[in-house]
Symmetry: C2
Subunit: 225 residues, 2 copies
Amino acid sequence: MTNFYGEHSKVWLSVDCIIFGFDEGKLKILIGRRKMDPGRGEWSLYGGFVASDESVDDAAARTLFELTGLRNLFMRQVGAFGKVDRDPGERVVSIAYYALINVKDYDDALRVQHGLEWMDINAVPQLYSDHNEMVEKARKMMSQKLATEPVGFRLLPSLFTLTQLQKLYEAVNGEELDKRNFRKRIKEMDFIEKTELIDKTSSKRGAFLYRFNNRVYAHDPNFKL
Amino acid sequence: MTNFYGEHSKVWLSVDCIIFGFDEGKLKILIGRRKMDPGRGEWSLYGGFVASDESVDDAAARTLFELTGLRNLFMRQVGAFGKVDRDPGERVVSIAYYALINVKDYDDALRVQHGLEWMDINAVPQLYSDHNEMVEKARKMMSQKLATEPVGFRLLPSLFTLTQLQKLYEAVNGEELDKRNFRKRIKEMDFIEKTELIDKTSSKRGAFLYRFNNRVYAHDPNFKL
DNA sequence: TCAAAAGTGTTAGATTTACACCCATGA
DNA sequence: TCATGGGTGTAAATCTAACACTTTTGA
């Protein structure tokens, strides 16, 4: 049996994370300068290796936790990146994952400690190896996901204004939306609940805060934006 | 440098193929009985190992070629499947791919030689390891792809009737379509060209044969079904 | 008092859906 | 001549997109 497997060769497996955040009306990802060879000093996604006793998904979740201190993030696999020479040192195949985080939940000291920066998705520099490809694919999958499932909330505080939500969708889709049409559609979705709370940080008048009610959504999952 | 990688452990990497075909008005996939341990005798997807000198995509293309004798198949990655115990023997992570083939192009002797059978997608038995998960994910991705890009033609002969095309979409979506509405939409797509040829195999009157013109599509890629 | 963001409805146009009959042919 | 699959258009309903003004409040 070992013979059967043994005819073939093994590879190192890594995970790379595309961490999306929404801040200052812009969609951003976390990247940093590589601290190790090969590629030291180049801009890069944050990643890690898959250990022998953990699934690939678990490796991604662990890596995300190391980085953010957060568990139960919304996370999806982007795919396997397996060109022979993608890593200049050894044969390493990497599985990319994207995650959505609320920037305000994220301890900024952890960001600094890992030497990471929030980079506007539209101004991502050249990255190490094939990481730009990963980012592009993640971005497409993520915007497709946000258009068909109510997961955009993962990028916002648990209480948010409709203007924030609209700006988020505008940033993700790269196009402006009509305010009245947007709010009309939101009103049709019972799982986006208006609270009596008012946010006055962004206007003098103040705006009602809303929340996503997952229980209501589970009962009547009709989302379309 | 080797130290940096060496702290971690390597895994075997395999590819598994979900090969979609369309025949007798049904969407089918190719599966066979495993000829090796572990899992000998169980229904399984066809797969292979990734060699050290080939990319993961190349390994999938090679595996598909071994199996079908066909190159340049439409092929897309489904994703990485990496549970620790997914392979009872060793730690093997598998990257699944789906491919679309025209059953008529496929040499049936090759199918028999590999011990494979066409199985209706709605009657797939329990498969080895996590292969059912792969099939489900591939199916979703494939139907999404067919709804947004004109690749359904890859499942049909290069000349096809509109009824064939409609039956294909019905099989993929699992619901019937209105004949007049379907044909109205096809008529709007200039890259689906009517020929003067007539197919008389499926009716006495005969039906016009159509073809997909990729050049016209490249010029005006508006597809929606 | 004014600047800045919040909030609110209507209508025309476009798209989608439902639906039924005649045609051509070979057996 | 009849059974079988091929082929065609219209109208109602629904959905989408465009559009402008009033409100509230802190500075």
